[in-house]
Every structure is written in C-alpha cells, then in structure tokens.
C-alpha cells in the first residue's frame, strides 16, 4: 500500500503506452482488463483507507522543481476517495458498453490516458501539478470529441478546449500569486496545498484569488453563464466521450471548489455565498426550462446535467457538513446516473441513428428491458426517494436551507422541473402507440450492454437505500474541512457565520 496512489495514477498511462503494440482486434479486451484492474486497485485503496482519519492518507512526496517549490505530492481523503472510485468505475463501465467501431485502438488508448489525468486531478495535492493534469485532461477529450464526434465535432471540440483552457489560465495566475504570497509569508516556495492550508490571507486578497480560481472551476462545472460549451460538447461527443465528460470531467470543477476555494479562502467563500447561490439558481431553473424545450434526447440530459451541477454548487456553498457532504454525494450519484443515461441514449442511437424524441414512441413495447433501466435511471436523476439521486439532492438542499429558506424553495423546484422534462421525454419516446415500423423491430438490450448497465442500476438502488457507506467516511473529512475554514477565517463575522450554518439539528443553548 506504500505507493498505491502513484500506481493508481500512472498504471493506466503505462498500460496505454504499452498498449500501442497490442493488435487492434484484441485491444478491447486489453482496455477492459486494464480498467478493471484500475477499478480493483481503487477498491483496494478504499479497503486500506482509514475512515476515522480526516487527514490526507497514503501521502507521497517527491520534489520536482525544488527551487520553485513544485513537487509531486499526492494524498487521498474521504472526498477524493469516492471520486476516484467513481472515476475508475465509470471508465470501466464506459469501456464495457463501448460500441464504437472506427479506430477502436486509438480511442481506447486515449481513454486510458484520460483515466490517468482524471484520477491524478483528484489525488494530486500540489497546485501546479494539479493544474498540469487538469489541463492535460483536455487533450484526450479534445481528441475523442474531435475524431469520433458528430457533424459539428470540430467546432464543438475547439469551443470546449478554448473555453476551459482560457479559464484555467486565469486560475494559473491565481495559483502563482498564492505561491508568491506563501513565499513572502514563510520565506520558502511551496505550491503544496497542505502548506497553503496554513496561510491566513487578508480579506481583499481572498476576494481576488477567489475570483481567479472561480474562472477556472466555473467554466469546468459549468456554471451559468459559462455553460454554453457543454451542450455542444455533449451533443457532438461519441457515447463514451459523453459518459466520461458528464460523469467525471464536470466533477473536477466542483471538486476544485471544495479542495481549493473553500479552505483557502473561507472569508471570500462566505462573502460570495449569495452570488454563487444565485448563479447556481439561474443554472438550476433556466437550464431546466431549456432542457424541457429540447427535441434531442441527448441535449435534454446535457442540460439536466447543468441543472444538477447547480444543485451541487448550491450544496457546496451551504458551507455546512450536510451541504458539502450532500454535494459530494451528489457528484458521485450524478456521475453514475448521467453516465448511465448518456450510455442508454447511445444505445438507442446506435440502433436507430437518431436521438430525436419525435422519432420515437412506444419503445417500451419493443424494448421492455431498456425501458425499465431507463426508467430507473430517470427516477434517480429526478431525485425519487430511495434512489441515489434523492440523497445528495436532499442533503444539499437541506444544507442550504440553513443559509436561505427562500432560495432553497426556488432551488427545490429542480425536483419538479426535473420531473417535468424527464417524464415528458419518457412519455413521448417510451409510451404511446409504437406505430413507426422501424421502432417495432428494435432489438432489446442484451449481453455486453446488460453487463454495463446492471451494476449501475444496482448501485442506484443500494446507495439510495443505504447511503451511509459513503456518507459516514465523508462526514469526518467534511467536518475537518469546516473546522479548517473556521480556524482559518480572519474575520469574526465569518467564524460566527460558519458556526451558525453548522447548527442543524443541534439543541439550542
């Protein structure tokens, strides 16, 4: 268990590099084995993880550019642990469900490189190396969307690349400045997050740095008004691209907020609670309406992703254990559910070569199993109690209720709006008469597709009924995070506010 994190990060990359010599007819089995081993490794990590310990575990440290304080430093805590497991799981499932035929070898090797960058983003604790993997993850995605995408693929992939790259560069300036502040305060260079957590920054500096990091993270999430790249990228990406984009890449942004913005700039986080919440609310309500107006199934799910990411942001900026814990749980559940939904749409697209809702109708007759699984995922996405989607959404909203009941009520509309657009889509495409002859002869899902989907259905239900598996380890990490924020905050008002926000269910003294 000494170097398990480094193994987790570099094993897929090594396997991808070696994979160039594997014959292209056998590459699928190779990629499947690699992703499965990676998933098992992440489970081993969970097994060895001490859930009581809120600090970083399995840390490794190796100086890279010592004179400028840049080092390879990794560690895992409750938040990143489950995101890593979700990443490796969804990559494996995406590879199982893969149906692409063109240039399969290039695609799978790219996916393996992408897996390295995704896992690394969640595990790396050095800001510059974090940034390195964060940017590097764009390149495989750029290739996947650009080479295997739909008609507008080049436009979409460039938009995706330029948008996220620009935002990240502003974040880089912020990181370099923070490194400099650390140097001024302590006399030596460090970009290590754990060192940075010791810094107490003046309020005005926090505001500027929060803004700089905000651009990097908000574009990735994506938050309104920076969300316009996402529908294009999702609309044009091949199924495996959409699955990974929705399940993992978007979570990098919200993870960034939790890992960087909250503990580094506690006063600014409190100060910006309402602006962030309003942006999140606009995303929730506005994109839900846009989703309702879509005629393309994939676009509906893409916009619903933006809407759900809004709820995650809302939970994060509730700044209490319930809200942050809920938002991390929602990240995981949204990863599983939206990944599954994109995969389902991919399966139907492969059979009918259309994603338009109007071309379907009565699919439940010809494809009962498909319709059932779709229904389960849809209910989870809407947030039906006893599914995985409910837990995160409920906790996020509960957390934010403490901040502002009115805003929470508006945000609660997400459940209603979500139900409206999802169920309407479901009604139009799965119910009603199956009068299109092409739809009548559709083959139900089977074999490989079942293998990919059944574990996700199982997870949706198991974690919906018993979320404590994840919530309990999260709890100690999130409490520690809030303690850090509390001790680091410089103004007494912030300290009081954080304490006040964290008093749900406590007896009034």
């Amino acid at each position: 268990m000494e170097h398990i994190l480094s193994i987790l990060i570099f094993f897929p990359a090594l396997a991808a590099t070696v994979g160039f010599v594997v014959d292209k007819n056998s590459i699928r089995a190779y990629a499947l084995t690699v992703t499965a081993i990676e998933f098992v490794l992440s489970l081993v990590l969970w097994y060895g993880f001490d859930t009581q310990n809120p600090l970083m575990q399995f840390t490794e440290f190796f100086p890279l550019i010592a004179s400028y304080g840049i080092s390879y430093s990794v560690g895992v805590d409750g938040i990143s642990l489950f995101l890593v497991i979700m990443t490796t799981l969804m990559t494996m499932i995406a590879v199982i469900g893969l149906s692409e035929k063109r240039d399969l070898k290039h695609l799978l090797i790219t996916v393996l490189y992408l897996e390295m960058t995704m896992v690394a983003v969640f595990l790396v604790l050095d800001a510059i190396i974090f940034y390195t993997f964060w940017e590097l993850s764009l390149v495989p995605m750029f290739y996947i969307v650009g080479a295997w995408g739909g008609k507008l693929r080049i436009y979409s992939t460039l938009k995706f690349f330029l948008y996220t790259f620009t935002g990240s560069l502003i974040m880089l300036v912020g990181m370099l400045y923070l490194g400099y502040v650390y140097f001024q305060t302590t006399g030596h260079w460090s970009f290590n997050l754990q060192d940075w957590y010791m810094l107490q920054l003046p309020f005005s500096m926090q505001l500027w740095l929060f803004a700089a990091f905000f651009f990097g993270f908000a574009i990735k999430v994506p938050m309104f008004p920076f969300h316009t790249w996402l529908p294009y990228a999702h609309g044009q990406a091949p199924t495996i691209g959409s699955v990974i984009l929705a399940a993992v890449l978007l979570k990098m942004g919200t993870y960034g907020f939790i890992r960087f913005s909250l503990p580094l700039f506690p006063d600014a986080s409190v100060h910006f609670t309402y602006p962030m919440a309003i942006l999140a609310l606009i995303a929730i309500v506005y994109t839900a309406m846009v989703a309702y107006a879509q005629e393309d199934m994939k676009q509906v799910i893409a916009y619903s992703s933006v809407s759900h990411m809004g709820v995650i942001i809302l939970g994060t900026f509730a700044l209490n254990v319930e809200g942050i814990g809920g938002s991390v749980f929602l990240m995981i559940s949204h990863g599983i559910v939206s990944g599954a939904l994109f995969m389902l749409v991919g399966m139907i697209y492969e059979r009918r070569h259309t994603k338009m809702i109007k071309d379907f109708g009565g699919l439940a007759v010809s494809m009962p199993k498909f319709a059932t699984i779709f229904a389960v995922m849809l209910m989870a996405s809407v947030g039906l109690p006893l599914t995985i989607g409910f837990v995160g959404e409920f906790l996020s909203l509960l957390g934010f209720f403490r901040v502002s009941p009115i805003l929470t009520v508006i945000a609660g509309l997400t459940i209603i709006f979500g139900a409206v657009y999802m169920l309407v889509m479901y009604k139009k495409s799965f119910f009603g008469p199956c009068d299109n002859p092409e739809n009548q002869k559709l083959e139900d899902i089977k074999g490989r597709e079942m293998v990919a989907l059944i574990p996700l259905v199982a997870l949706v239900i198991i974690l919906g009924i018993y979320p404590k598996v994840i919530l309990a380890p999260l709890d100690s990490t999130v409490s520690h995070l809030i303690e850090t924020m509390h001790t680091k905050a410089i103004s007494p008002a912030t300290k009081a506010r954080i304490l006040e926000l964290n008093s749900i269910g406590e007896v009034k003294k």
């Binding site: 100086p63 890279l64 290039h106 590097l136 750029f142 650009g146 330029l162 620009t166 502003i170």
Partner: protein
C-alpha cells in the same frame, strides 16, 4: 609623439577570445578544404561544423579566467557564458538538420557552413562584450553572414526574402550606430558599464538625448528580436528560407539579441525609468498580442510559426521589463524550452519538405497538406501534435514550464505597479495562441486527407533527422525533469554576473 605601449600577453586574457577564434578558424579551414578538393560531400562539412562548435563549447564551458580581456573590450561574465553555451548547443542541433535526403543548392557550397560558423562567432562576440563598438561588430558579422545564407537558397521567394531582410537589417544597423553615437555623445564612453555609472551619477542629465538614444537602440534591437512594429520582415524571410534555417532564425540570433537588450536596458529598468518601462511595456504587450492575432489567420504552417515566434519574443521581452533575477533566469529557461519545441516543429516541416513548390495547388507547408496525417503516419502526427501543444503552452510539455516561470516572475514583481495586469495579459495571450497551434492538430487528426500526401510525408527524412526529432520529442515530453537542473545551472551563471 605617441608613447610606446607595451602590453604583456598575459594581460590580454586570451581565453576570452579563444572560443570565437575556434569558430572563425573552423570557417577558414572549411574554405581551404574546398579550395583543395571541390568534390567533397556535404556530410563532411556538416560534421566539421559540429566538431568546431563542440571545441568551441568545450572552451566556453571550461572558461575560468578573469572576466575582462583585450583592454576591457571583452566581457565574459556568467550571462555571456550561458548565452554562448545555449546558442552553440542549438547551433549544433540546427546544423545537423542539414542531413536531409534532398539535395539542396545551398548545401552544395561549403561556404554555407563557413558562413554558419562566422554567424555563430558573431553572436558570441555580441554576447561577450559590453562595448557598443564590439557589439556592433559582432552584430554585423552575424547579420551579413545570415543575409547571404538566406540568399543561397535558390527559390523565387528567396531573393525577395534576402533583399527585404538586408534592407531592413541595414536600417537597423544604422539605428544601432546612431544610438551608440548618442550614448557616446552624452557620456563620453561606449562601455555600457561606464555609461551606466555616468548616467546614474549625473542623474540622467540630458534626458532628451538619452531618450533619443534609447529609441534608436529599441528600433535596432527590435528589428533583431522581431518586435512589433519592427516585425514585417519575419514572415517573408521565414517563408523564403528552408524550414531548417527558418527554425535557426527564430531561435539562435534572438538569444544574442536578448543578451544585448538585457545589457543595455538593464541600466534603465533598474533605475526605474518610467519612459523606458512604459515603452517596453507597450511594445511587449503589442508584440505578444499582434503576433498572436496575425498568426490566427495563417494557413501556411511556416508563416504561422513565424508570427507565433514574434509573439514568443514579446513574451520574453516582458522578462526584461520586469528586471528581477527571477525574470532574467526566466529568459533563458523560457528560451531554451521554447527552442526545444520550436526546433521540433520546424524539424517536422523540414522532414516533410517537398521539392515541388506546390502539391495539388497547395504549398507543401500549407495546413491542408497535413490533413488526415494521422491515417498515414500516426507517430509523425502525434509527435507534431505534441510539439504544437508544447508551443501552445499545454502542460506538461516544455514551453509550459517557461510560461509558468515567466508569468510567475511577473506575479512576483511587486515593485512594478502593473505586474498583475502584465501577468494576466501574458496568460490570456497564451489562450489566444492555443487556437492557432491547435489548428494543425485539428487538420491532422480530424480532417480527411488528400491523396497527394504519400509523396510529401517524410520525403526529406533520414535516420539522422528522425533521431534528432526523437530526442527533442523526448526532451519536450520529459521537460518537467529538465526544469530543475536548468534553473540551477542558469541561476548560478546569472547570479555570478549580478543580474
């Protein structure tokens, strides 16, 4: 009656001059060999050039004498050693590119390699002196050699390129002489060390004249560094010369020019002269931005690289404006890492060089000629894409670390009031640059290829070129492990010379 001066040979400090003499002697030997036998292959001359440059490197690296030599005309300080080492190593890499399969006009003349050595010696003189006269001599030696080398490539566009380069260069030379003259008029000396001393003690007396001198110098060196608005020659000259030589032009002369700029402008930057700071600030920002904007619309990869090299020069100019030790270290870190990627990018164009001036109506360097390359040669496409992403500043490839270091230097320079704006402008310019660097990648990977490619791809490749490109690809990918030793070495040399 002129008094007899007796000079001890030891006092001359011959070591300061020895490296340049090796290069110059090497050039003469090459010409002599050609006189004796006219039928020798170019590989002999290439390897002779490499040998002489290697001896040159050894002498520079082993240099351990007094800093001054030849009546204080030579100044071999840390910066000089560092710049000489960098430009010598890069010169070796670029001359090795001449090992192409195709027979080119200029490589049939051994004079080409002699001129190459003359040019390198000229650069060495430029960086190893703080006497404006000596700098001028070095500048002219190298420039005249380079004008001729551009003209030796016998293509239609070459003559245009050479004439343009020469006329503009002549103007720049005139500017330099005028600038030097004004400095002499104001201070009574041509040695920059003393100029600085006199200017500071006289509290910049005659300020209007000094400003005029600075303006002339900025014009002259701006031409050499291809700063906007002195950049108009760049795309035509690059287009007119071979990819191998264009790559050389984009990297090596600018090292020498940057050192001269550093020596001259350091006087004013460290005195926090507002005029000079503003001028440099505007020129740096405009150069970065205009270079990028003009590169956006190019469809010829070589022209695109030409415009982008303008932008990179602007980026490094920011370091001179910042003027801290970290920034000075950053100049070299950035330029070495940039040179790795740039050599790779031009090397790829060079390895695919086609004799025909057009392939199906497209220039062989056109972006369209690269469409669908990934189908034909995945490895070549991947390496080229890597070099493009590297130049764009995508981590973890080489240029990113240079950018990181320079933006970091800008952020840390809190003695300047505008440092954060500068850092943000530098960062946003990198974002603009991504678009045009990614464009060839889009063509190579996402577009359908044309049939003509088979005759274009690797039509100039030899094992030597492939090995060279392979080495540079590895250096670029693994550059994260290169940065720390580089910074250590560079900061040692920079600090011993007190910048």
């Amino acid at each position: 009656m002129i008094p007899v001066i007796s000079v001890d040979f030891m006092e001359l400090n011959f070591q300061t001059l020895a490296p340049m003499i090796v290069a110059l002697l090497g050039a003469l030997i090459i010409i002599c060999i050609d006189l004796a036998n006219k039928h020798l292959d170019k590989s002999l001359y290439i390897m002779l050039t490499v040998v002489f440059l290697s001896i040159d490197i050894a002498l520079v690296y082993g240099f351990s004498g007094a800093v001054r030599g030849f009546f204080d005309i030579m100044l071999v300080d840390g910066i000089s050693i560092l710049a000489q080492l960098t430009l010598l190593i890069l010169s070796i890499a670029f001359v090795l590119l001449a090992f192409g399969k195709q027979k080119l006009q200029e490589y049939r003349y051994p004079e080409y390699f002699a001129l190459y050595l003359f040019a390198v010696a000229g650069f060495q003189f430029m960086v190893s002196s703080d006497s404006l006269i000596m700098i001028f001599v070095g500048l002219e030696t190298s420039s005249i050699a380079i004008y001729t080398m551009v003209a030796m490539h016998n293509r239609m566009k070459t003559i245009e390129a050479a004439i343009k380069y020469f006329t503009m260069g002549a103007l720049a030379t005139a500017f330099f002489t005028f600038g030097a003259m004004i400095f002499y008029a104001v201070t009574g000396t041509v040695e920059l060390g003393k100029v600085s001393e006199i200017l500071v003690t006289s509290d910049f007396n005659n300020y209007a004249l000094i400003l005029m001198g600075i303006t002339f110098m900025l014009g002259a060196l701006g031409f050499k560094l291809s700063l906007v608005p002195f950049h108009s020659w760049v795309p035509d000259v690059y287009e007119g010369s071979t990819a191998a030589f264009a790559g050389f032009l984009a990297v090596v002369p600018k090292i020498a020019a940057f050192v001269v700029v550093l020596r001259i402008f350091e006087i004013f930057v460290s005195a926090e002269d507002t005029y000079v700071q503003t001028a440099l600030y505007i020129i740096a920002v405009v150069t970065m931005t205009m270079g990028n904007l003009m590169a956006l619309s190019q469809t010829d990869i070589k022209r695109m690289l030409a415009f982008s090299s303008i932008s990179h020069a602007g980026f490094v100019l920011c370091a001179i404006l910042i003027g801290t030790t970290q920034a000075t270290i950053g100049i070299f870190v950035y330029w070495i890492l940039f040179a790795i990627a740039n050599l790779g990018a031009f090397g790829i164009l060079w390895i695919n060089r086609n004799k025909n001036s057009s392939v199906n109506g497209q220039s062989p360097n056109s972006i369209h000629a690269y469409a669908g390359l990934v189908k034909k040669s995945p490895l070549l496409a991947a390496i080229m894409a890597m070099f493009m992403l590297s130049l764009a500043g995508v981590p973890p490839f080489s240029v990113f670390w240079g950018k990181l270091y320079l933006i970091g230097a800008a952020v840390n320079a809190d003695h300047l009031s505008f440092n954060m704006y500068l850092a943000l402008i530098m960062a946003l310019n990198s974002a603009i640059a991504v678009y045009y660097y990614v464009k060839p990648v889009v063509y190579m990977f996402f577009k359908e290829g044309a049939e003509v490619q088979d005759e274009v791809i690797l039509s100039n490749s030899t094992t030597m070129l492939k090995t060279l490109l392979g080495i540079f690809a590895i250096l670029s990918i693994g550059s994260i492990f290169l940065v720390e030793p580089l910074i250590e070495l560079i900061s040692y040399y920079v600090q011993i010379s007190g910048y």
